[in-house]
Subunit: 324 residues, 2 copies
């Protein structure tokens, strides 16, 4: 693979920095050619270049150089705020539930489609308002399949089914509340069970006016499951309060959830990026956000799993005096 060995000057020109800077980065941060004999010329392989590219993109987004370098060294291809967001339309992670079939009983049932027996069982327990049974099902599912899978294949379908019924029949409000509560509690239990390592560096918050916090709680539980500490603000967080929280706690990353388009005001993201304690990374998560209206420097994971892996990348970044 040595057919591409770029010289220092070439790389420098490509990145738009001075040659000296490359040398500085090498000796200050260890961010240089993987194999380099002191005294000899530096030869950058494509991998090295990718690392430098990461460094450049991070710093271009305001990340402190020292931290950006650390990040670049250990996660060369870390997903980053791409200047041109992927042309993914915004269908949202809305679970496409088959509303047909699933005939379960005579009266008012919850359509869960082909989401497996557990979902049907959960739906039945919900209809009975049997919180014990609900808890049991959820707990077992989480214990068996983990938070992410449980959320995607069990909870979200059932909640969506309830919501659908609720929208159609204007009934089942109690059921919806009860299940939401149980889910929320289950997630909380997960968080409590997994003692977080260090201080929470990730802040989860709903967008202003956004009422649905369950998906965020799912993310929080998934994070906890992975051993990543976080802070969850909850639903309906005004922008001012969010900024205040960011200012007070200085998180490395902020996740802002928006369920519906009406709550997806990009201004909030802009405000986050412009605030005094600018977070390293800002995530816009949820079906509400429109990819084309996001300000530059905002990452938009498409589902829980992606958000999780991105957050894990954040975790790996140790903090150190940040300047610049």
């Amino acid at each position: 693979m040595a057919d591409e060995a770029l010289s220092a000057g070439t790389v420098a020109r490509r990145l738009g920095v001075a040659v000296t800077t490359l040398r500085t980065w090498h000796q200050r941060y260890g961010l240089g050619p993987s194999e380099h004999v002191p005294g000899h010329h530096r030869r950058y392989t494509p991998a090295d270049l990718a690392r430098l590219e990461t460094m450049r993109r991070l710093t271009a987004n305001g990340v402190a150089p020292a931290e950006a370098a650390r990040w670049a060294v250990q996660a060369p291809d870390a997903a980053l705020p791409a200047p041109a967001p992927a042309p993914a339309p915004a269908p949202g992670p809305g679970p496409r539930i088959e509303r047909r079939g699933a005939r379960d009983g005579g009266g008012a049932t919850i359509p869960v489609g082909r989401s497996g027996p557990a979902a049907r069982g959960l739906a039945r327990a919900a209809m009975r308002l049997d919180s014990n049974a609900i808890n049991e099902v959820i707990d077992r599912a989480i214990r068996t399949d983990g938070v992410v899978t449980t959320w995607d294949t069990l909870l979200r379908p059932v909640l969506a089914g309830i919501g659908e019924r609720h929208a159609a029949t204007a009934a089942l409000i109690e059921v919806e509340h009860l299940v939401s509560r149980c889910v929320s509690e289950a997630f909380a239990a997960v968080v409590r069970a997994h003692a977080p390592h260090g201080p929470p560096r990730i802040l989860l918050s709903c967008a202003d006016e956004e009422q649905h916090s369950l998906p965020l709680e799912a993310l929080g539980a998934a994070l906890a499951e992975t051993g990543i500490a976080h802070r969850l603000l909850g639903a309906r967080v005004p922008v001012r309060a969010l900024l205040e929280a960011v200012n007070r706690t200085g998180p490395a990353a902020v996740v802002l959830w928006s369920q519906t388009r009406s709550t997806a005001d990009p201004t909030q993201l802009t405000a986050l990026l412009a605030g005094p304690h600018r977070p390293l990374l800002v995530f816009a998560v949820g079906p509400g956000w429109r990819a084309d209206s996001l300000p530059a420097g905002v990452v938009r994971p498409v589902d829980l799993a992606e958000a999780l892996s991105l957050a894990a990348a954040v975790r790996d970044s140790l903090d150190q005096p940040a300047a610049g």
Copy 2:
């Protein structure tokens, strides 16, 4: 060079306090970086951080800052005075652990009045959005004093203080949300911990449009603690949904919570009594209800303890063959 030399700002963010506070702690209590040349930047080693962490934990538990600092300086890894430390008498109904030195003040704080050190610690933890500390304090309080006492002497005062501040300054919304969530989770944990004996015969529900469900959750947790199973519907339960739930589950008693007068529509109570599956007992709980407007046959406990004892009475009466 120390592999980890955290700057003042980083440490401050980690702890959830302002940078200025770190400096203040240093010069007031001597709680600073072990080696620090005046005029130069402070560099906190892991050991220093541990000391500060101790400080944080102690203050979160209500210890006066001055004393907490003294403690932290000489015993960096001091274990929490959790179960029964020497200088702490039994925190009975009068949690007057130490009458002096528990002052508080400064900046945006939460007024808790003379509600004991635990309340102060909780308020402090809340201000720094430290959910771990919040959980810790609440859990210990519940474990030590039980749900009712904890609610009356710790949680309600603090929540009221936050609400007061919030109403006055329009700030602290995040704090309010976070604490509410933690309280809710703590109650849920209590309910989960105490496996209910039989089928739930008591239904707890918020009045229509009523958003505050925390007091109800407190009642639910207290019931669970006493071994009484219950069903909790949650906030904002429309009358139709309530009746539907009563109809489906046929509870022996229904508790309807109203926080403010605007949600205390007596019609709901009347509807309950007139429904097909008339509950044995209907409770109207909460400050919203007006005694003179309640329909006949509705009981109105004045506080959590009374509601609890009445509910216990219900449970006992169920053991006897009820004459109808």
